[in-house]
């Protein structure tokens, strides 16, 4: 069967499945809509959380990022998994015990203040909306690259599918579609990885293959890769660090606490029946996430090796990389290369006019490499590779049948849709429950609130779709900003709400505002005020990364420290929280008496 037809069939079948689930899992009450009725099994919730968590970026881009960064790419792997340890032990069980529908509701009740909950809603909306823009553009990218439709068509299709199960099913519909989406995306990710690992190392587990010897040699994959990339002028794979070790450290902290503070992840833990379930469920979530996250670094190194080996035959034969016949003749390139050239993700420019492809780091500082390239008549690297190709072209590089390529398409779309839906629920519940019900219409009936929730969801989908269609020119920076804001505002305030009985509303509000302000300030200095080009003021703060070489993406951790300091300083000079709040904190700390999650104020 034609690849295109097969891809439509597989992706179409996955959509039919999601819509089938949507029809089965309609929400009949606010409890269904916000927390899937509160009866989700911890393992099921773990799987849904994994799909919620792993976005288009995790699926399509992460391995490519790691391939480019080498060892330093570990910051994404540790940052986006280590946060679950914090979430499991510091936040999830206590918020589950508290037993309300949303994160701002906890902040509002614990800090006995509608202003606190409103500030939390604002932080939540900034974090979730910036995050969802990335997902909607991801939906467009996944559709256009795999299905050959335009970005716009892809986004409209994605909006339609999410509408079907998120508006009518709320959290209930989202939970069960996420389980299905997890299964689709994890098989799509691991099947090609297993075959690539088998081809290269003879080891069918990519996690072991990455540490194994290349087939038929006694040289390990990583040693050989190190040697090849340094010979071609790139940084050594297993030691290259982004910026400095300090930046890597702070970046990892930001991703970890950002993970723990992201509302769309936290609310997933409101769907399990008991406090003990929330603890185990975080463990299961991490198991399901780890299947992809431990495979990704193997995919990264192996795809990088394969790419180099494809264009330079001396890599597998251990010959002279700079010999003329080592470089691949453009006319003899494999099919997958010509296929991806059409998408623009792979570009070749014959700089020295020899009809062969030379791929190396022409900006290297190694005089040795430059001299060899010069001598061989190389006039600059001729191949431009978009990192996303490391995952997307994998099945073709490993010569897998067409149905695997089609499955990878369905997996990419599933990853984008599942995260978008989770974010949309966090956005719509903050609007319907924390703004409309809490601030404007406290006496609204359950039935009306459910209606408002559905309308808010529909509105959020339209807004997200519009932003996806007209990305504000900063789509790439948005996910980092979402983590920065979750890390610097929501995470510290929730933590202090649980672990400090004496923290008062003045401290909490001042802390959140200070964390938000300092993070936005640093990010805007680098990327422009509200990301508007030309409004960068990076010179005012002493040049790029002027704060100890910390990049704006990594700044959330610094924002969190500012939040804590300001909160405790303000707390010291203002009056203690009332007696009943201190009792509330004591209640939240013990599991006994946990009831079903509800929305009562």
């Amino acid at each position: 069967m034609e690849l295109q037809t097969l891809t439509y069939l597989v992706v179409g079948a996955s959509f039919a499945l999601y819509i089938g689930i949507a029809i089965w899992a309609r929400a009949g009450s606010t409890s269904d809509f916000y927390v899937a009725g509160g009866g989700v099994h911890p393992v099921t919730n773990g799987m849904a959380t994994a799909a919620d968590w792993m976005s288009a970026a995790s699926f399509i881009s992460m391995a490519g990022l790691i391939a480019n960064m080498g060892y330093g790419g570990g910051l994404f792997l540790m940052g986006w998994t280590g946060g679950y340890v914090i979430l499991a032990m510091w936040l999830a069980p206590y918020l589950r015990k508290f037993g309300k529908f949303t994160v701002p509701q906890f902040i509002g009740d614990r800090f006995y203040s509608k202003s606190a909950s409103t500030v939390a809603v604002i932080c939540l909306l900034i974090a979730s909306i910036t995050y969802v823009i990335g997902q909607m553009t991801g939906v467009g990218v996944a559709f256009s690259r795999f299905l050959g439709v335009s970005n716009e068509t892809g986004i409209y299709l994605g909006m339609g599918i999410v509408f079907a199960y998120a508006v009518f099913g709320g959290m209930k519909g989202i939970t069960y579609t996420q389980v299905a989406q997890y299964i689709v995306l994890i098989s799509a990710y691991t099947i090609p990885a297993v075959f690539i690992s088998l081809n290269l190392t003879g080891n069918f587990l990519p996690q072991l293959g990455l540490g194994a010897n290349l087939v038929g040699t006694d040289v390990s994959l990583l040693d050989r890769l190190n040697q090849v990339v340094t010979d071609l002028g790139f940084a050594e794979y297993t030691t290259s660090v982004p910026g400095s070790k300090l930046n890597m450290f702070v970046y990892t902290v930001s991703l970890m606490i950002g993970t723990a503070g992201l509302p769309h992840v936290i609310i997933r833990f409101f769907t399990v029946p008991k406090v003990a379930d929330a603890r185990y469920s975080a463990g299961w979530a991490l198991v399901f996430i780890a299947i992809l996250y431990t495979t990704a670094p193997a995919v990264a190194a192996m795809a990088k090796y394969n790419l180099h080996a494809t264009v330079n035959s001396a890599i597998t034969t251990n010959g002279d990389l700079y010999a003329e016949e080592s470089s691949l003749k453009y006319d003899e390139r494999p099919d997958w290369m010509s296929r991806w050239e059409k998408t623009g993700l792979l570009k070749w420019e014959d700089k020295n006019g020899d009809g062969r492809i030379q791929y190396y780091n022409d900006k290297t500082k190694s005089a040795d490499v430059l001299a060899k390239a010069e001598q061989a008549g190389w006039k600059g690297s001729e191949l431009t590779v978009n990192a996303d190709i490391m995952v997307m072209a994998n099945p073709e590089i490993a010569l897998l049948p067409n149905w695997v390529i089609a499955l990878v398409a369905a997996g990419g779309v599933a990853a984008a849709l599942s995260t978008a839906a989770g974010l949309l629920l966090a956005i719509s519940s903050a609007v319907s429950h924390d703004l409309v019900k809490n601030v404007f219409a406290p006496n609204m009936s359950d039935k009306n609130e459910l209606m408002v929730g559905k309308i808010a969801m529909a509105g959020a989908i339209v807004l997200a779709g519009w932003l996806g269609l007209n990305p504000p020119g900063f789509a790439a920076g948005t996910v980092a900003l979402a983590f920065g804001i979750a890390a610097s505002t929501l995470f510290p305030v929730i933590m202090m709400g649980i672990f400090s009985k004496k923290m008062n509303k003045e401290g909490a509000i001042a802390g959140m505002l200070a964390g938000l302000a300092v993070t936005l300030f640093y990010v805007f200095a680098h990327k422009g005020i509200f990301f508007i080009k030309g409004t960068e003021f990076v010179d005012l703060i002493g040049g790029p990364n002027s704060f100890f070489g910390i990049t704006p993406e990594a700044f959330g951790a610094i924002g969190a420290v500012v939040n804590f300091i300001v909160a405790f300083a303000v707390d010291k000079v203002t009056k203690e929280p009332p007696e009943h709040i201190q009792h509330l904190v004591e209640e939240v700390r013990i599991p006994r008496g946990a009831k079903a999650v509800d929305g009562a104020h």
């Binding site: 060892y71 540490g211 010897n213 030691t239 990892t252 603890r279 463990g283 013990i590």
Partner: protein
């Protein structure tokens, strides 16, 4: 069976502290700060620091969460605050 809120909270915090120390050591310690030193040791074809940064820390994180969930269950019962 003991029954006091302060004791329960103290036991909880002490468990969290122990787990966070391990959490820190495998990721920030072995994966970042001491990665260069550990890279001189090999685990199969993996330099050890690289392995911790891209594989090992994640496995330890999973173990830590399940260990935590189990231990917390025991502490809950010891102080009689578990769910029925």
């Amino acid at each position: 069976m003991e029954n006091n809120a302060a004791g329960y909270w103290k036991a909880t915090l002490s468990l969290l502290t122990k787990i966070m120390i391990v959490w820190f050591l495998v990721s920030y310690g072995a994966g970042i700060l001491f990665a260069d030193v550990l890279n001189t040791i090999h685990l199969g074809g993996y330099p050890l620091g690289f392995w911790f940064a891209q594989q090992g820390s994640i496995y330890v994180f999973i173990a830590l969460i399940f260990f935590y969930a189990k231990k917390m269950g025991e502490i809950d019962r010891k102080f009689d605050v578990h769910e029925e």
